[in-house]
């Protein structure tokens, strides 16, 4: 078993060596004429404006969070699912079924919440903003 993991480790090692080797071998063949204009970040021929490290959409972070939770869920289901077929028709199999169904259902609620609260939308901001504003305005009038 350890041997098999050693083999996998050898794969990762060789895969990490390949780019290093390719770039090192290439160093002897490729030309090297450094110019200051070559070191400017590419911005379609114009000089770059401002920093590239701009703050970006918070949606990406929300996606990362939702992903993290479901990633954990998928990872947890793997060992549980792998024993399911061994206990078909036994009471323990029924227990596995119920436990995993409850587990899946609980996490599905999370997806439903994210969906209903509009966190899975991307470019619908403006529409919802106007709707929310209308609601608050009417409430203010009332």
């Amino acid at each position: 078993m350890l041997q098999q993991f050693g083999n996998a480790f050898a794969f990762i090692f060789v895969a990490a060596i390949i780019p290093v080797l390719a770039l090192t071998v290439g160093r002897f063949f490729r030309p090297d004429y450094p110019l200051s204009t070559k070191k400017i970040p590419y911005e379609c021929g114009e000089l770059p404006v401002g920093s590239a490290y701009v703050m970006f959409n918070h949606r990406f972070y929300l996606v990362a969070i939702i992903f993290l939770v479901f990633d954990v869920e998928v990872a947890l289901m793997f060992p549980v699912m792998s024993i399911f077929s061994d206990y078909l028709g036994q009471s323990f199999g029924l227990k596995i079924l119920i436990v995993s169904l409850v587990f899946l259902f609980t996490l599905f609620l999370g997806l439903v919440y994210a969906w209903l609260s509009g966190d899975l939308e991307w470019f619908m901001e403006r529409e919802r903003d106007s709707r929310v504003r209308k609601k608050t305005v009417t409430r203010g009038e009332a």
Binding site: M1, L2, F5, G6, F9, S51, Y53, V54, M55, F56, H58, F60, Y61, L62, A64, I65, I66, F67, L68, V69, D71, V72, E73, A75, L76, F78, P79, V80, M81, S82, I83, D86, F92, K95, I96, V99, S100, V102, F103, T106, L107, L109, G110, Y113, A114, S117, D119, E125, R128, D129, V132
Partner: protein, 165 residues
Amino acid sequence: MSDTIVYLIAGFACLCAFLVALLPNILHAVIALIGCLFTTAALYAVLGADLLAALQVMVYVGGTIVVIIFAVMMTPDLYKNKFIERAGKYFFPTLVCSILGACFWYIYMQSASILPKAELVRFAITKKMGLALVGPYALLFEYVSVVLLFGLLGAIVIARTGERR
């Protein structure tokens, strides 16, 4: 030979852990943390917990680190800030930490010497872990789902910014 490889992995893990603490650039420290988590996964595999090794890479490296990198990117002025500190600033924390480490090592020696010396036995743990998760730990398994649910809800509610209002 395989002994040497394991010691190399362990040494690399320790090096990465020090780099997490000492690298001035936060994103470089994140990469050192990736090294730590990856080598820990390798050590799990050496110890016979292959499922945990894969899970560590999948959840930690693939999930948590991505969230950390996103968080670093969300705070861009942090990245270019190099945090160059005086060396003296590290002196007192390092001293305290190494004293604490020495105490811990003493406790470890006490607790590990109970175990008799034996050849490490490796067995297939995937099915056994599945059995444990729905057997004795079934309730914990369900609690985890609830924790995940409320963690998700809480994180979403907090991370949503004021742009909506």
